[in-house]
């Protein structure tokens, strides 16, 4: 990019000046505590007593810990349902809807945004009712259409519970993805489509050659965002309220929290968090790298 004010050093200082406010708060209030948290992972500590140094014992423990791997599997399911599937649905729906002139767009937009607004506790409780064994919505609907044999305690077995929770993720994020992608598509100049049409390209080809590349950045952002929510914050609240982590639904973040505040093993919890952080970081970094290449 063209530089505006001459002088290299002056330029660099200026650049950092713009970046500084954001960077400083992030470093002080996020990275520094995270670093401390990381430090705890090398100790054994119950949070209120003395700390004793144990080097990498906690990390070795993670590999042998069956509960960790169950949680890891849960998170994989959640990545699929909270991130990939909504993104995919979002792309498909938005590519069809974005260029059609729909009235009442504002209402739809608000409706699709609604899931984000409800606190996780309520979301978990409500879906607990939707999936409930006797009076739950799903089972009652199955009853109505004559499929009683399919009735099940959806949250009550490790075969179905993680996927059931996964569907909550689809509900939560698809609407949002639609909103973002629609906005992104509407940014594209209609002329591109017009000329492609003239050249004889059909809708599918238009999608892959015009829409998708133009949405490159939106896709990366959406994936990173949903992925991170799938790995930490969202699932924490929802799973807590819906199943409490039973039947293989407990994500790593909830496991770490219980390790720290229920089992009083802050050191081990910190090591689990560190591993989780590395996973998140690698995935996000990769998404960025791949997505932003041409």
């Amino acid at each position: 990019m063209k530089d505006i004010n001459g002088g290299k050093l002056h330029k660099y200082v200026l650049s950092y000046l713009y970046l500084a406010p954001s960077l400083i708060v992030i470093i002080i209030f996020l990275l520094y505590p995270l670093f401390n948290s990381f430090r705890y992972s090398f100790f054994q500590w119950d949070g209120v007593g003395r700390m004793s140094f144990v080097a990498i014992t906690n990390y070795i423990g993670i590999f042998k810990d069956a509960k960790f791997w169950i949680s890891f599997r849960a998170n994989l399911v959640y990545i699929l349902f909270f991130s990939f599937i909504p993104t995919l649905f979002g792309l498909i729906v938005s590519s069809v809807v974005a260029r059609a002139n729909i009235r009442g767009v504002r209402i739809f937009r608000t409706i699709f945004f609604t899931p984000q607004v409800i606190a996780s506790v309520a979301v978990g409780t409500i879906f607990g009712w939707i999936y409930a064994p006797q009076f739950g919505v799903v089972n009652q609907v199955l009853d109505l259409v004559g499929l009683e044999s399919f009735q099940h305690a959806w949250l009550g077995s490790s075969a179905t519970a993680p996927v059931a929770v996964g569907f909550i993720g689809v509900w939560l994020w698809t609407g949002f993805c639609i909103i973002i992608f629609v906005a992104g598509i509407q940014k594209i100049d209609e002329d591109f489509y017009a000329s492609a049409q003239l050249d004889g390209a059909n809708s599918v080809q238009q999608f892959f050659h015009i829409t998708l590349p133009a949405l490159k950045y939106e896709i990366v952002v959406v994936i990173i965002m949903t992925m991170i929510r799938a790995l930490s914050t969202n699932v924490f609240g929802i799973v807590s309220a819906a199943t409490g982590g039973a039947f293989g639904t407990r994500p790593i973040s909830l496991y770490a929290y219980q390790l720290a505040f229920v089992q009083h093993d802050i050191g081990y919890a910190s090591s689990v968090v560190a591993v989780l952080a590395v996973i998140v970081f690698v995935i996000s970094g990769l998404s960025m790298r791949i997505g932003e290449r041409e």
């Binding site: 063209k2 401390n36 698809t174 939106e218 965002m225 991170i228």
Partner: protein, 279 residues
């Protein structure tokens, strides 16, 4: 004639499709709304979707006045408003620097100010964060709840804005630069108006997330009269039982301002989205 009919049918199809999705999306909200007027036992017996036999409007009265949700609303506002506004300003500046200015160690800075900031969830840093606030003598103040969330929101908004800036057509920027304007002017007079949809979107999301966040205020602000709405909701949860109708009512009351807020700002999104971005 044929083409018109086909277009119309497709159009209708689209509408129906969207309405079905909207219906599914709204279902839980509907259950929540109904739940706020019903009794828990009633929900169990007749299922979550039945209409209330008696409409317990007193739940709303109780929540707003007896349980002081008005006060919680004010507190939430004290925390959320500064967090979002300041984080947007920080993010706009940061994104500008990351995309348009010459920055040594750019790649590292990108990671630090976006990904790393976004992925740190509050549960993981509670204990060190508490100690930090203790050292800074900020415990039990709104500021303590604002600062970490400010950082998280700034990181997120930077991520969104950076992507948006990267996706802008080159000629737009070059045209502005030719005028010989200063960085500051370019950023605020030209880029920000164009970036309005991205700003509104990230602003709306960070507002909602901060509005509903509860762990940071729970641990850093013990005084009950300073609780935000999300912590106030805990009033209805005992260690053994949870008062379902009141929780539903509380959640509706908490969510409603956010919905109104979003509905309100839609207008700006539409305006910003008009194709005449470059006039």
């Amino acid at each position: 004639m044929m083409r018109n009919l086909r277009a119309r049918v497709t159009h209708l199809f689209l509408y129906v499709f969207l309405i079905v999705i909207a219906f599914i999306v709204l279902l839980p909200f509907f259950i929540m709304l109904l739940g706020s007027f019903r009794e828990h036992i009633d929900i169990i017996i007749r299922g979550p979707l039945a209409l209330p036999k008696i409409w317990h409007i007193e739940n709303y009265y109780d929540v707003l006045f007896k349980y002081r949700f008005g006060m919680f609303f004010r507190n939430t506002f004290y925390i959320t408003a500064p967090t979002v506004l300041v984080s947007l300003i920080f993010a706009i500046m940061a994104a500008y620097s990351l995309v348009f200015l010459e920055l040594p160690l750019r790649k590292l800075m990108v990671l630090l100010s976006t990904v790393l900031g976004v992925m740190i969830a509050s549960e993981f840093i509670m204990i060190p964060l508490y100690r930090l606030m203790n050292t800074l003598k900020l415990l039990d103040t709104y500021t303590a709840a604002i600062l970490p969330q400010l950082a998280m929101s700034a990181a997120f908004s930077t991520l969104i804005l950076r992507s948006f800036f990267l996706g802008l057509p080159r000629d737009l920027i070059d045209a502005a630069l030719v005028d010989g304007a200063t960085n500051w002017r370019i950023l605020w007079s030209i880029l920000v108006p164009i970036a309005k949809p991205a700003i509104i979107t990230s602003g709306a999301l960070t507002t909602v997330w901060t509005w509903n966040s509860y762990i940071i205020p729970l641990v850093l602000i013990p005084t009950p009269s300073k609780d935000p709405l999300a912590v106030g909701l805990l009033l209805f949860q005992g260690t053994y039982t949870i008062d379902i109708p009141l929780t539903m009512t509380g959640t509706v009351v908490t969510a409603l301002p956010m919905l109104l807020f979003y509905l309100f700002f839609q207008r700006h999104i539409i305006r910003g989205l008009t194709k005449g971005a470059v006039d």
